[in-house]
Symmetry: C2
Subunit: 217 residues, 2 copies
């Protein structure tokens, strides 16, 4: 059974690669940057994305694709910001793939956008395997999750360009070892940028947003 499962997965991944290239081609033509945001459940993706949009909303025209298994709460929050939002309910699915992204693109006013954000399903495993056609892939790791996540979920740290370490305001109450995170994650991905941030206090957000701005240009 194991071997069969792996075969199926490889087949799906190969198909996905072709779809990801289609997404990339379309967005290049439309001059839109696609930013994929991944993390565990409850790391603060919606809060972080909302803050970035507030800080950069005068410089870039944003759109958001919300990938959620069942609920629409995050999409409603984004919609309340007045930006184009497409909700993809994966109906149990554990990740977004390029074909689903393509479906969302068809409903997006691409000519009126500069940056399209994907808030992926909360999951450190499966989303890392599926290239959605993004120009920038980043992840969030919250302080309470611990510094050892790059040892346990290495692929996510390998496929992303930056990790935003969220909830820095509660760092005094947890034993989070930044040196260990840096050492272990750079062993996997030497170019990985690490930004400690707290949306609540604003700590580190200037640096994080400045880096994102460079990626969007």
């Amino acid at each position: 059974m194991d071997i069969e499962y792996i075969d199926l997965k490889e087949c799906i991944l190969a198909e996905n690669e072709g779809d990801a290239q289609e997404v990339r081609d379309l967005l290049k033509e439309k001059n839109v940057i696609l930013w994929n945001v991944m993390s565990s459940p409850g790391s603060g993706k919606t809060t972080f994305i909302t803050d970035v949009i507030k800080r950069l909303g005068s410089q870039f025209r944003f759109g958001v694709i919300e990938a959620d298994i069942e609920s629409t709460v995050d999409a409603e929050k984004m919609h309340a910001l007045g930006i184009p939002t497409v909700q993809l309910r994966t109906g149990g699915g554990c990740h977004l793939d390029a074909a689903m992204t393509m479906e969302a693109l068809a409903k997006m006013p691409l000519d009126d956008l500069d940056v399209l954000i994907i808030e992926n399903v909360g999951n450190l495993v499966c989303p890392a395997e599926f290239d959605v056609g993004a120009n920038i892939a980043t992840m969030l790791l919250s302080i309470p999750e611990g510094d050892d996540k790059c040892i346990k979920y290495p692929l996510m740290f390998t496929v992303t360009k930056a990790v935003f370490v969220t909830k820095m305001d509660v760092a005094p109450y947890f034993d989070f070892n930044f040196e260990a995170l840096e050492k272990n994650s750079h062993r996997l991905n030497n170019d990985l940028r690490i930004f400690p941030v707290s949306v609540k206090t604003g700590e580190g957000m200037d640096e994080a947003v400045e880096w994102l701005k460079q990626q969007f240009n």
Copy 2:
């Protein structure tokens, strides 16, 4: 592509059901209770399980199956407690299935065990779909993850008998609404037990362990 993917998944799930029954039959014969522990990454599974073993180790003979994608750090912690430990490295796989559980059982001294614990892959999505043949399925939800997880990841709250709300010691620093969790999770699963706990301070552990003891008998 969507339809194809769903077909494959259904096929895998059907095969898994048969394997789960095999696991159940073997463990019934050996008089061993199988306890499946699931949660997001970093919710505190290893810490919680370790504490339960310390508290109940004189009454039950425990064994542990550690399901990890890559690392062996959790298995080493369990092994240090002096209990039989089997490490299953899923090599990228996002969950444990019944066939993998069966492989682990073959290496376990089942005649010398009362309770076999599975520490599943840190993932709120995929492990909920795969019956590993457990007698009791439970989940952890840490305070920092937030009270809305049952809205976003409903299946996990449907297939488990109890949710241990961990890291209660940091509750003062987060806006976690217990009433919302109770209301929304009981809508999915009316019998779900909710135990607020902190291994650090010991809060709620007596009640949680008492309930587990009843399940193991």
